[in-house]
């Protein structure tokens, strides 16, 4: 199982994952799923919201409740204590970063992103300190 970001999660639903992504089950944290769900449930106006509103009902269902054989959503409960510990150790990171780093510690010490701009500087710094490899594939 490998931990991925919003870009690779969406590409997995589409069936368009990059060829250099390992052939393994993909997983996201609840925070990542939360950010994906905001695109459906919290329209901010603009073309993005219009496009999301045009998804079919089955398409929205795939977004809301991904099939685990394609994209698994990690149960946050077993990871939460360690995520809080990591957050505190590095000056109070947000849940998104802490949860992803913790998940990666339990799943191969790697993180996979589908866009360079989705990797924050803090994520890179803490990942390096924890021995986690950050990969970006497009």
């Amino acid at each position: 199982m490998i931990v991925v970001d919003e870009y690779l999660a969406i590409r997995s639903l589409v069936g368009d994952t990059p060829s250099d992504l390992p052939d393994d089950v993909l997983a996201i944290t609840t925070s990542v799923h939360w950010r994906i769900l905001q695109r459906l449930h919290l329209p901010r106006g603009g073309q993005l919201s219009q496009a999301m509103a045009a998804l079919s009902e089955p398409g929205r269902a795939a977004f809301r409740r991904p099939a685990p054989e394609i994209l698994e959503i990690l149960d946050p409960r077993p990871l939460l204590d360690q995520a809080a510990e990591i957050s505190a150790a590095y000056g109070g990171t947000g849940l998104l970063i802490a949860e992803m780093l913790t998940a990666s510690l339990h799943h191969g010490r790697t993180l996979w992103y589908g866009s360079e701009r989705n990797v924050g500087r803090r994520t890179r710094d803490i990942a390096r300190d924890l021995g986690i490899t950050v990969n970006v594939v497009t």
Partner: protein, 64 residues
């Protein structure tokens, strides 16, 4: 090929082909988010989620 290998190959193929609940129009929309004309707006929306929510995004500007 053993039964197990066949099963794993089938699972891999299903995983690689995406979610069948998405139709072609849905797939086209989602491609616009990840690599098309909506990529900038999508990236900005993700960043805004962190800016709007300190629990999710933390309080350091470096987290955003």
């Amino acid at each position: 090929m053993t039964k197990g290998e066949q099963l794993l190959a089938d699972m891999r193929r299903a995983r690689r082909s995406g979610d069948p609940r998405l139709d072609d129009a849905d797939r086209a929309i989602l491609r616009r988010l990840t690599s098309g004309d909506l990529a900038d707006e999508f990236a900005e929306a993700l960043a805004q989620d962190l800016a709007d929510d300190d629990l999710l995004g933390g309080t350091s500007p470096d987290d955003k």
